[in-house]
């Protein structure tokens, strides 16, 4: 069964900490995405990557950065965590050119709380 695995289900971090959220996929997908889900706001795209070492900003990139050193791994970095970054973070992947019809494969999410 194909999988997108997010390393942590729940995280609690302090304001100002540097936070790493890890995502690994085993489907050899080119595209990987980071979204956050908030009540009443749906899923909003933070960053995405269409190839190793390639990245593009999504709709809400402020306060975040990403790293993709290997095809299967896409990391989201909160440079200095703030309370307004408390959210559910979802990683997803899709193959190049097929994502529109067949959708993304999502991980189970990381619930991050910044205190």
């Amino acid at each position: 069964d194909v999988k997108v695995t997010q390393s942590s289900r729940y995280l609690v971090k302090r304001t100002g900490e540097k936070v790493f959220l890890e995502c690994v996929q085993d489907m050899d997908h080119e595209n990987m995405f980071w979204y956050r889900q908030d009540p009443g706001l749906g899923l909003r795209l933070i960053y995405f990557s269409y190839d190793v070492k390639m990245k593009e900003k999504g709709d809400i990139p402020e306060g975040y950065s990403v790293s993709r050193e290997k095809k299967e791994r896409f990391s989201l970095i909160l440079e200095s965590a703030s309370t307004n970054q408390t959210s559910m973070y979802l990683c997803a992947s899709s193959p190049h050119g097929q994502g529109a019809r067949y959708g993304y494969t999502f991980g189970s999410g990381t619930r991050l709380t910044v205190v």
């Binding site: 009443g40 899923l43 190049h96 994502g99 993304y104």
Partner: protein, 114 residues
């Protein structure tokens, strides 16, 4: 600027009846539309999609209808089952090549009552 809107945050339906979830969009250039289902503490799972050149797509109990003139999308679930209780997101993608960046709606929480 919300390009994909789900105006009903919640919906309750009796088991066995039809569930209709609605979605409106503003960009007539959207290429594909998709529906996702999300259970608590899990990631969204892909349900069904429809191309902008079609007006209907069916998969078992799930049918998606697209009305391009009204910029309206709906998901019909017949018959509804208690296991269908979840949050449903509609999503749309613009006609870009390669990387498809979906724009999601805010979600509708469906509760199917036994």
């Amino acid at each position: 600027d919300q390009q994909v809107k789900q105006n009903s945050p919640s919906l309750s339906v009796q088991e066995g009846r039809i569930s209709i979830l609605n979605c409106d969009y503003t960009n007539s250039m959207f290429d594909y539309f998709l529906w996702y289902k999300k259970y608590p503490a899990e990631g969204p799972t892909f349900l069904i999609s429809i191309s902008s050149i079609k007006d209907k797509n069916e998969d078992g109990r799930f049918t998606v209808f697209l009305n391009k003139s009204a910029k309206h999308l709906s998901l019909h679930i017949v018959p509804s089952q208690p296991g269908d209780s979840a949050v449903y997101f509609c999503a749309a993608t613009p006609p870009t090549s390669g990387t498809y960046k979906y724009i999601f709606g805010t979600g509708t929480r469906l509760k199917v009552l036994a």
